[in-house]
Structures are given as structure tokens and as C-alpha cells.
């Protein structure tokens, strides 16, 4: 990714800035119906050219449990969401490509769409060859006898779907020279894209190269393999010309893979001093029309985190994902972590109110004083020290009194499994680095330069972090799930230490001069098999005007980052994530009508926050070192986990109305 000094000049090279000779533009014809039989399709490339299902790759990829529920590249017998790709057309320029969509003729027989989780559970299966619309259903934890308790509380919650909406939509160029396929793509994971294209189109991996263009944000939307990517690659191979596809915003709003869209039912048992003695839960994910995307696995991932930073010894949760006639669910910053925190913290606040305790009191009594592994599988360190300090630093009691502040406490589970790879080349006194993950705004080059300086004494101006490129590393994972500094940093350190040994072997001892005077190359893949979690706490205050409109006046947070490798960027990430958290609570949703047609068709309706929505920020970075060689912990998703919890509680306290869902609408609050 180009560094900021280029981006401020408009000198970035995003996918659409790349022009290859003899290039074709692709436009995609899409289903206007949420559910229909596709009787015939003529024009462009369609299933008569390629019958394939979307292969694997990316964050949360699970693989469809049954090929009958897999996402086809080109729709075959049926269409199952408005916007589902049906055909692709090609032209010399993008305006003509859009004109050519008129030439695609498709005949449909409309069927009644399934638009809600309840309809999905009770209705007929969407896909022939499946028994129901359940993609997966699993229990987590272990059943337990209802403990004798002072309090038993039940409630139900929902978090609406949200479109990721990075400023740059999806896009790629696929280029085929008769033997080699090269793909330039806006992405979080060049290796995931390569694996997916290779497996879907049955290509020789040694002849496929995926290169990351400058990427204008992603938030989870650019790690998956999408039908459009496969179409472009297929067309490039067929026509032996580069094929460019740039998604329109309308397409992104309709047919990318939105996140959230989850329901939770919770039942908790507690004794009279607020200690939770048992937790039962149901997590239901609206996974959209096909199995295999992140939505298939997310209920399990959410269920696993329900106990959060608390030492709850008995828990039993049923995790279910169901198919509906909507686009498949994908990861959106947080990817299940915010939903788990929402369901849990809403219950903790309910418990506080029921027992007439302070919100921080009821949480404190459930914190842990040593490492704890929850029956649901989540491992945490002692949470009491962090929480006690955070409550005091955030001035919770004072703001609770004066402004009815809301408080949220959570744990961030970094997706470090799979680890990462790194390569360092030294040549002509310059150091070039490649990482398996692909930054898209997070300034990974800052921690790379810093760690290389610490490990090897290399001056920072001699180091370049290059764009993600499958041609330059044997393998890699990707940038998502609050993992990059943790796993990327670990891989950099491992590669650096390997380099150091190489120098010692050659020169007898390591000095920076000995390193830079010769040529070296070191590449490592560092896997990670442990859990690495970190705590965070957020406080929020709100005002509600006479129209029921909410203004978040203050958002204060304490975040344990282990070690702040890039303090300025950490702050920027927290602020950005905070605004997204506010967006989730106040503005953002995906709305379909009963026919499945998308109603939230522009960025206003999608609810993207604007500058005027900013609260006053207070950010406190906590550094409780992790066991990783660099001591850092994850951060990226933390604000999206804690902020909605605190803001919703503040709304609840100020309005006096129990809050159970996001977004909260002004019509619910107007007096």
C-alpha cells in the first residue's frame, strides 16, 4: 500500500487507476427477484459457459456443508437474492459495458421469497437437495441443571444487517497472457483470493499470481471470494485480454456480503449479589442465500464469546445459521464480536437494574482474578485489574450520576489462528519486506519499520513494505480480525532473527553494516495456535432531543493494546471504529421489502455517519504486554465491540425505555 505521503497527492494506485493495454470492462447482469426459477438466460457469459460454485477463501470461510447450498458463480436453475449475478457482459469502455446489460435476456418464474429468520426456520428449503434452511446448528458448552438463583432473567435482542461500505468498492483486473493469470485486486488477502480462484477454475497454482493494489478500506468485505472475481478471471482466460470489474456503490449496497443480521435469546441465572451462575443462549444468524460465507460459521463464533470478560462457569448455547433470500452474510468489522458483546452486556445491565445495583458493580463481581477458560471455549486472562482501573479512569460513577452514562466491558478475541508469513530481502543496502497480510489504511509499514529497527538496527528510511503479492511469498493469510500487528509483527520478528543468524554465519557476528553490505533473503511462516485476547471498556453519554434524535455527546474508551506500536494510528483506528459503532446504533441498516427488493439504496439510507455525528472523544491506551515477542495485542475491531453497548445503555437510561436492538430509531424515542 502506498504510504500517506503519496495518497495525499492523489498518487495512490487503486485498482481503477490501473490501465492495461487492450483491457475489457465487465458489467454484471443481476437478478431483479429475491427468489425465482431462472428459466432461461441469453446474452453475455452465463451458466452455459461456466457451471461452477464459488470456491473457498477469506475471513470466516467455512465451505458449504452441502454443495446444494453453495453460491454459484453464474446463477443456474434458480436465483436467491436481488442482485445475484446472472450474466456478465464485456465492452471496450465502462459506459458501453453498462449499455450491453440491456442485451442480456433472462426469463424468471417468481417464487415467494423467505425474508426473515422465522420464515426460514418454518418454511420450505430454498435449495433442492437440502432438508431445511439451516446451514449449521451446534451446541456450545455443556448443559447444566438450573442453579437455584435469586434472579432468573430472559430477553431477546437483534442487530440489523449493515453493509461494510468502505469508500472504495470492490474491484479487480484479471490479466491472462495465454499461460499465466495475474490479478490486481483491492483486497485484504491475496492468498485467499489466489486459493479461491485456483480451486474454482481448476488452475495450476504456479501460474496464478495475485497482487494487491492500493486498497481503499475493506472492513471485512474484501477477503472473500466473490462470483464477480471468478467471472473476470474466467473471461480474461477465455478472451485472452485483461478484464476489469469495478463495483458500483449500488451493487455494493445490494450484493456484496453485509455483516451483522443476528438475533440472540439469552437466559441468565444470578445470585443476589449479582454473580452470574448460569448462562443459556440461542444465537441465530441470518446467513443469506447460500452456505459457505462467513455467515455459516458466525453463530458458533458469536456463541463462543458470549461469556466475554466474566468468569461464568456454566453456559450452554445453541448456535444456528439459516438461509434467507438475501445476499450471503459476510464479516463486517467485528464480525460477531459486537453481537456477542451486545447480547451479553444488555443482560448484565438488565441484571444491574433488576438487583438495583450499579452497572459497574454487577460487572465487577463477575470479573476474573486469574486465567479463565469459559465452558464456551473463550480463554481470558484476569479481567478484574483492567476493569477496576478502567471504571476509575473513565470516571464512570461520576458520569453515571451526572449524565446517565452507559458502560460496556468486553474482550477482543483476535483472529490470530493461522499466523502469518513474512519475507525480508536485503539488496544494495535497501531492505524490502513482504507480508502475507494486506494493509488497507492501517499503516502496517510503521510497525514493520519499527520492529526491524529494534531487532536489527535497520534505519527506518531504508525499509519498504511492498504491496501484497503471492509471487513474492510462498504462502500467507490476510488482514482481518484485529490480527495484523500481532501475527504480522511476530512473523517480521521471526524473519528478522533468521536474517540475523544468516549474517552471523557469514560474517561471524551481526552488525547493521554486515547486514547491509551483502545480499540476504529470509522468509518465514509463523503459525499461531493460542488465543490472544485483550480487554476494553467504553463509556458513552447521549442527549435525546424532542424529535427522538440521539446525539452521542461523549465516547470514552480504555483499550489494552499490549504494546502501542503505532500510537497515532491506534488513536485513529479507535476513533474510526467509534463512529462505526455509533453508526450501528443510530443509523445503519439494510432494509428489504416483503418482495426482497432493497430499500436502502443510497449511502443516506444505508446510514453512513457524517462528521457532525462525532462525539467528544477520550482515549486511553493501556499497555499490558502480551506473550508475543513484540508484546502487542490486537485492536482494530475493539471500538466496534464496546461502543454500541455503551451507547445503547446510555439511550436506555436517558429515555427510560428498555433497548433490545440496533439501530434505535427516533420514532421509538420521541415522546
Amino acid at each position: 500500500m502506498s504510504e500517506s505521503k503519496l495518497l495525499v497527492r492523489g498518487a495512490g494506485k487503486y485498482v481503477d487507476d490501473i490501465k492495461l493495454p487492450n483491457m475489457l470492462y465487465m458489467a454484471v447482469a443481476r437478478s431483479p427477484h429475491a427468489r425465482a426459477r431462472l428459466l432461461s438466460v441469453k446474452g453475455g457469459l452465463n451458466h452455459s459457459d461456466l457451471k461452477a460454485i464459488v470456491g473457498g477463501g477469506g475471513e470466516g470461510w467455512a465451505g458449504p456443508t452441502n454443495p446444494a447450498m453453495a453460491h454459484p458463480v453464474f446463477a443456474m436453475d434458480t436465483v436467491n437474492y436481488v442482485g445475484q449475478p446472472v450474466a456478465a457482459v464485456f465492452a471496450e469502455d465502462r459506459y458501453e459495458a453498462e449499455d450491453k446489460l440491456d442485451e442480456v435476456e433472462a426469463e424468471y418464474e417468481k417464487l415467494k421469497p423467505i425474508m426473515t429468520i422465522d420464515e426460514a426456520l418454518s418454511g420450505e428449503p430454498l435449495h433442492a437437495g437440502t432438508k431445511s434452511n439451516v446451514i449449521m446448528q451446534r451446541w456450545l458448552g455443556a448443559d447444566f441443571e438450573d442453579p437455584s438463583s435469586a434472579v432468573v432473567l430472559e430477553d431477546e435482542f437483534s442487530v440489523a444487517r449493515i453493509v461494510n461500505n468502505p469508500l472504495e468498492t470492490r474491484g479487480l483486473i484479471a490479466d491472462y497472457d495465454g499461460s499465466n493469470l495475474t490479478v490486481y485486486i483491492s483486497t485484504q488477502a491475496v492468498f485467499g483470493i489466489k486459493a479461491g480462484l485456483t480451486s474454482t477454475l481448476k488452475l495450476d497454482p504456479s501460474k496464478v499470481r495475485v497482487i494487491q493494489a492500493d486498497t481503499g478500506g475493506a472492513f471485512g468485505s474484501k477477503s472473500a471470494l466473490y462470483p464477480e472475481y471468478i467471472m473476470a478471471a474466467y473471461a480474461a482466460i477465455k478472451y485472452k485480454r485483461p478484464v476489469k470489474w469495478i463495483e458500483s456503490r449500488s451493487e455494493h449496497l445490494a450484493a456484496s456480503q453485509p455483516g451483522r443480521g443476528v438475533r440472540g435469546k439469552m437466559k441468565i441465572f444470578a445470585d443476589k449479589d449479582g454473580k452470574v451462575t448460569g448462562w443459556r443462549g440461542e444465537v441465530l444468524v441470518d446467513a443469506g442465500a447460500f452456505g459457505g460465507s462467513a455467515g455459516s460459521m458466525s453463530p458458533f463464533f458469536i456463541g463462543m464469546q458470549l461469556t466475554g470478560p466474566y468468569g461464568i462457569e456454566k453456559a450452554h448455547v445453541l448456535a444456528t445459521s439459516v438461509m434467507t433470500n438475501k445476499p450471503p452474510q459476510g464479516p463486517y468489522r467485528g464480525a460477531g464480536r459486537p453481537e456477542a458483546a451486545f447480547f451479553r452486556e444488555r443482560m448484565m445491565d438488565l441484571l444491574a437494574d433488576e438487583l438495583k445495583m450499579e452497572a459497574d458493580e454487577v460487572r465487577l463481581i463477575n470479573t476474573t482474578t486469574e486465567n479463565f477458560k469459559s465452558p464456551l471455549g473463550l480463554e481470558i486472562e484476569a479481567s478484574r485489574p483492567f476493569f477496576t482501573k478502567a471504571v476509575s479512569d473513565l470516571k464512570y460513577r461520576e458520569k453515571s450520576q451526572s449524565d446517565k452514562a452507559g458502560l460496556g466491558f468486553f474482550v477482543l478475541l483476535s483472529a490470530i489462528w493461522g499466523g502469518e508469513s513474512a519475507r525480508i530481502d536485503v539488496q544494495d543496502g535497501k531492505v524490502n519486506v513482504w507480508l502475507g497480510g494486506n494493509q488497507h489504511g492501517q499503516e502496517h509499514y510503521v510497525f514493520v519499520k519499527k520492529l526491524l529497527n529494534e531487532e536489527l538496527g535497520i534505519p527506518q528510511d531504508k525499509v519498504t513494505l511492498n504491496h501484497g503479492d503471492t509471487g513474492m511469498l510462498k504462502d500467507g493469510v490476510g488482514s482481518w480480525g484485529s490480527r495484523s500487528a500481532v501475527v504480522g509483527g511476530a512473523a517480521i520478528i521471526a524473519a528478522a532473527r533468521k536474517l540475523k543468524k544468516q549474517v552471523e554465519n557469514k560474517e561471524g557476528n551481526y552488525t547493521i553494516e554486515n547486514l547491509l553490505k551483502s545480499n540476504y533473503s529470509s522468509e518465514v511462516y509463523e503459525n499461531q495456535n493460542v488465543q490472544l485476547n485483550s480487554f476494553g471498556a467504553v463509556l458513552a453519554t447521549v442527549k435525546i432531543d424532542k424529535f427522538g434524535m440521539v446525539k452521542v455527546t461523549e465516547c470514552a474508551g480504555c483499550y489494552d493494546v499490549g504494546r502501542a506500536l503505532n500510537p497515532k494510528m491506534i488513536e485513529s483506528q479507535i476513533i474510526g471504529g467509534t463512529i462505526q459503532g455509533i453508526g450501528q446504533v443510530l443509523y445503519e441498516e439494510v432494509v428489504h421489502d416483503t418482495e426482497g427488493k432493497l430499500l436502502t439504496k443510497n449511502l443516506f439510507d444505508a446510514g453512513l455517519p457524517i462528521a457532525e455525528n462525532m462525539p467528544k472523544f477520550t482515549i486511553q491506551i493501556v499497555e499490558h504486554p502480551s506473550k508475543m515477542p513484540h508484546h502487542a495485542r490486537g485492536l482494530g475491531e475493539a471500538p466496534t465491540i464496546g461502543v454500541p453497548v455503551a451507547v445503547v445503555r446510555a439511550i436506555e437510561r436517558v429515555s427510560g425505555k428498555r433497548m433490545r436492538h440496533t439501530p434505535v430509531k427516533p420514532q421509538e424515542l420521541i415522546v
Binding site: V8, G10, D16, D17, P166, R249, I575, E612
Partner: protein
């Protein structure tokens, strides 16, 4: 559909083109003139990533036809930089975390440039309101507001620009 002769100034240079009327100004800048700094990020005139200056006013180039540029003076992000220097706004955006992924940044900077060219004082609230046509998904806007204020200081110290 007849092509239309269109001539205008871009970043101080005079250009003459024959344009299909339906082509948007943002496409003309990016594809005909190779000025890819201006970005096209939505199709409903919401996001402002395409912001440029036309005759000194900040406008959304995705909601203008290329042929409408006839006789006008256009300034894009590429035109802010003199001979390798960075404009104070560009320096400020780097210094004060006004960007992460950079995709909204050229539009943000051009919008801010217009704001600062009005030579009046803005409160923080007014700055935020003036940015209502420019969306950012990464930074949460705080760094952008700080960058604009810092740029104003830098420019004041320099004796204004």
C-alpha cells in the same frame, strides 16, 4: 450521439477534447486526462470522493458532465502540489491523521481547500457541517477536522496562500 468540442483549463493547463455528452466529468478527468487522484466512489452523489474545484468552487465531479467543463478552470488534487512540495493541507493531513486508506482523501482535501479559501473563521461545528458532503469510513472524521485547523494555522504562519 454527437461528440462535443470541449475546452477548459485543468491545473493551469489548457486542454481541448471531443467528448460524448453522457461522460461524467470524473470519468473525463480520470480516463481522458489520466488524473486518477479524483475518485468515483458512489453513484448517488453522496460521498464526495470526486470533489474538485470548478471556477474556485468545490463541486462533485461525478454529478457534472464532462462537456459542462467548457470554458471553466478546474483544480484537482494533482494541481495542489507545486513542484514536488506538499500543500499545507496535505502536510496537515499526514501530520494530524487525516487519512487511513486514502480513498476519500483527495476529495476531502479539495473540499477543505475550498473551505479555507473563503478566508473566514470556522468553528469546529461549522467545519463538520461544511464536510457533510464528504464521507469517510476509516478515520471517524476527527483527524480530518484537526488537519483542517492545523492547515489553517500553517497557512496563517506562512502569510496565507
Amino acid at each position: 450521439m454527437k461528440k462535443v468540442k470541449t475546452s477548459f483549463k485543468v491545473n493551469g493547463k489548457y486542454v481541448e477534447l471531443e467528448l460524448e455528452p453522457r461522460r461524467l466529468l470524473v470519468s473525463v478527468l480520470r480516463e481522458d486526462l489520466g488524473l486518477t487522484g479524483t475518485h468515483n466512489a458512489c453513484d448517488t452523489t453522496n460521498c464526495g470522493a470526486c470533489t474538485i474545484l470548478v471556477d474556485g468552487k468545490a463541486v462533485k465531479s461525478c454529478t457534472m458532465l464532462g462537456v459542462q467543463a467548457n470554458g471553466k478552470e478546474i483544480l484537482t488534487i494533482e494541481g495542489l502540489t507545486k513542484e514536488g512540495d506538499l500543500h499545507p493541507l496535505q502536510k496537515a493531513f499526514i501530520e494530524k491523521q487525516g487519512l487511513q486508506c486514502g480513498f476519500c482523501t483527495p476529495g476531502m482535501i479539495m473540499s477543505s481547500f475550498w473551505m479555507l479559501s473563503q478566508n473566514r473563521d470556522f468553528s469546529d461545528e461549522e467545519i463538520k457541517r461544511m464536510l457533510s458532503g464528504n464521507l469517510c469510513r476509516c478515520t471517524g472524521y476527527n483527524g480530518i477536522v484537526e488537519s483542517i485547523k492545523y492547515a489553517k494555522d500553517l497557512m496563517r504562519k506562512k502569510g496565507g496562500e
